[in-house]
Symmetry: C7
């Protein structure tokens, strides 16, 4: 199963915050505050403004940071996703 | 009787969440939190913007996820439906 | 006396909810929660957008369901009506 | 003295609710809840939208019903009036 | 010193409510509730909409009634004025 | 250092309210309520509406009155300024 | 890693407020109230209005003051940044 977002929406998968203890053991997902980073999983076709399709700025595979409290959490096949309008994506993280 | 939604509204029928106990017995509809999945039952003609009809993105039979707390619950012939603007539909679930 | 609604407003008359007891006696209007169904009694000429009249989607005699808490209750000749903008009508009920 | 409303505003004079006691005596204005009916006393020239004057739908002498809590109460020569935008007038009452 | 209002703003000077006691003595300004009447003292050039100046409907010397709680009170040379957008002026009082 | 406001913003410097005691001594800035008068120190280039620059109505050196609670207080080189959109300026004070 | 802001967003790095004690020792970052000054680190491509890209007014390296409580705080490689719409930038500080 996969999600096909409508309009200028994007499906995000939150990156797991990894924390390393002093002894070097990696503790994934123990951070209390969720990170705002996420990977773009699906991209909608774009919004239609004045009869014209506005192309999207993000693409599948991008790492992005998004506005806190924006978007809707969705569960599919026991995985959690965020469906969010592209306008709530602040920036693309380049490596 | 059937519902003919106006404008860019859509009639949804919430999918029943099935839960399977360890012994394999299926317990439909016991989940406390309603799932956000629904089947599209009827689709309105679309909104008219600047005198032009904007065609709809969803069609009858689609499984969709929709925004929490959006839409109006409606009872018809003892069945419950949700009438919702298409803009409150987040994504189509593809199988 | 009759009401002539302005713009894209519609005058509705709420359908009386009939309940039948086990013995077959019909008890009209005992339902505590008012039904959201109503009959269209009068239809306004439509809204004017960018100098053009947008024709109405509902007509006199239609049975419609409308958004809760929308519209204004009005009393005329001891009858109660709802004056509501067409955009608050969710769907037409077809028989 | 008279009021000349600006734009798409209308001056209304609330109709006095007359109540007749069993003995036939008319008690004007004893109704606690004010009726929503009013007579149109003055009509503004209309709103200007995109440089064009939009003509008004109501005229002096019309009996109208208007939205509760809309408009401003104004006192002139010890008479009370309501100055209201035409968009808050729900319907014209035809006799 | 005088005030030159910007855009579609107007400078008003509230008329003093005069009250006459039984003995005929005039008590200006004792009324607790301020009257909503005011004289137009200065008129701005008008708002610019879509690059065009929209001319003003009120002129210096007009007596107007204005919306309660609208506008800003301003003190100049120990006199109090109200600077208000023309859209908050309800009607011109004609004598 | 100086501030170059963006768009249709203006930098204001609040005029000091001078109070003179009975003995003639001037006490600047003792007034509890700050005056709404200010001098225009810098003027932005103007807002761009529909691709066209809308020229500004105020100029450096103007004394203006502005809406209470509008604008942002800014400290530069130990001097306090107000950065405000021109739309929150009510009127120019002419001497 | 670097941030590429979307639309008319800008990435800011807050300037550290330096305070000098009487003995001349510089105490960076002890000020309780954060300064509103920041350096522009990255600039988005600009917003698209009516199909046209509106160029940005600020550039990388500018010192700007921005509206309190605007923008989103973001942490990248243990550095804190503010991602903000250009419209929330009040003025450029020129030296």
């Amino acid at each position: 199963m996969k999600l096909r977002p409508l309009g200028d929406r994007v499906v995000l998968k939150q990156s797991v915050a990894e924390e390393t203890t002093k002894s070097g053991i990696v503790l994934p997902g123990q951070a209390k505050e969720k990170p705002q980073y996420a990977e773009v999983i699906e991209v909608g076709p774009g919004a239609v403004v004045d009869g014209k399709l506005v192309p999207m700025d993000v693409k599948v595979g991008d790492t992005v940071i998004y506005q806190k409290f924006a978007g809707s959490e969705v569960k599919l096949d026991d995985e959690e996703y965020i469906v969010i309008k592209q306008d709530s994506i602040l920036a693309i993280v380049e490596k």
